[in-house]
Amino acid sequence: MITPRRLFLAAPGLLLLPRAAHATAEAMAEAVRGFTGGAPVTRGRVTLDISPLVENGNTVPLSVVVDSPMTAADHVRAIAVFNERNPQPHVITAQLGPRAGRAMLATHMRLATSQRLLAVASLSDGSFWSDEAQVVVTLAACIEG
């Protein structure tokens, strides 16, 4: 028989229930599929530059550069960055075109924990290219309190 007192005693256990508070490898793959529309992604042409050892996950500089002539016939249409273990797998999606001159994007992101990052570029010929980086974080961003 469950008495209110028993419920009360069980309460601390409820706090230990796993929270669906971070993305997973599957969630990241799903987010990448949302960006590519299921098209195959080839490793290469993209350079994701981020420090491999991060002291403070609250502000982590990263940059993405894609090897592309950026002409009207051959340019990068979009660059997206995904993560594996933040609460949401998506970081940023940038739309660019031949007017950009260079396929380059830099920003500062949050990292909830040590994890793998993936940058994907969408090219005007319909192909997708990527680069990934493994990052170790010593002080996590206060995303989960």
Binding site: N86, Q88, A100, L105, M109, C142
Partner: protein, 106 residues
């Protein structure tokens, strides 16, 4: 009005690739962070950034809560002709701000 730091060159040669750097003051509340009372603060982030130059969108970005507070963005564009570079930010709770910088192309 949020404070902004924008770095656009004042002058550029025609055809030159210029780098634009922007930073805007914003908390970028993730929507996952409990406050001092244990209540999760609702999400309040900048969702979209757009840069228009010479009558065309040259760069656009969609941001997630994974972007750090005071979002920084750096990108490039080709200097085509003298005109206004217009940068606008849109976000939750009706956040909207637009800044312009003049660019002289020689």
């Amino acid at each position: 009005m949020a404070r902004v730091l924008i770095n656009v060159p004042r002058t550029a040669a025609r055809g030159e690739v210029i780098t634009i750097r922007t930073l805007i003051q914003h908390l970028m509340e993730t929507g996952y962070r409990p406050d001092a009372n244990g209540v999760v603060a609702p999400r309040d982030i900048i969702r979209r950034f757009t840069c228009r130059y010479d009558g065309e969108v040259v760069f656009q970005a969609e941001l997630s809560p994974a972007i750090a507070a005071n979002p920084f963005l750096s990108f490039t564009t080709v200097a085509t002709r003298s005109g206004v570079v217009e940068m606008s930010w849109e976000g939750d709770n009706g956040f909207a701000q637009t800044e312009t910088r003049d660019l002289t192309v020689t």
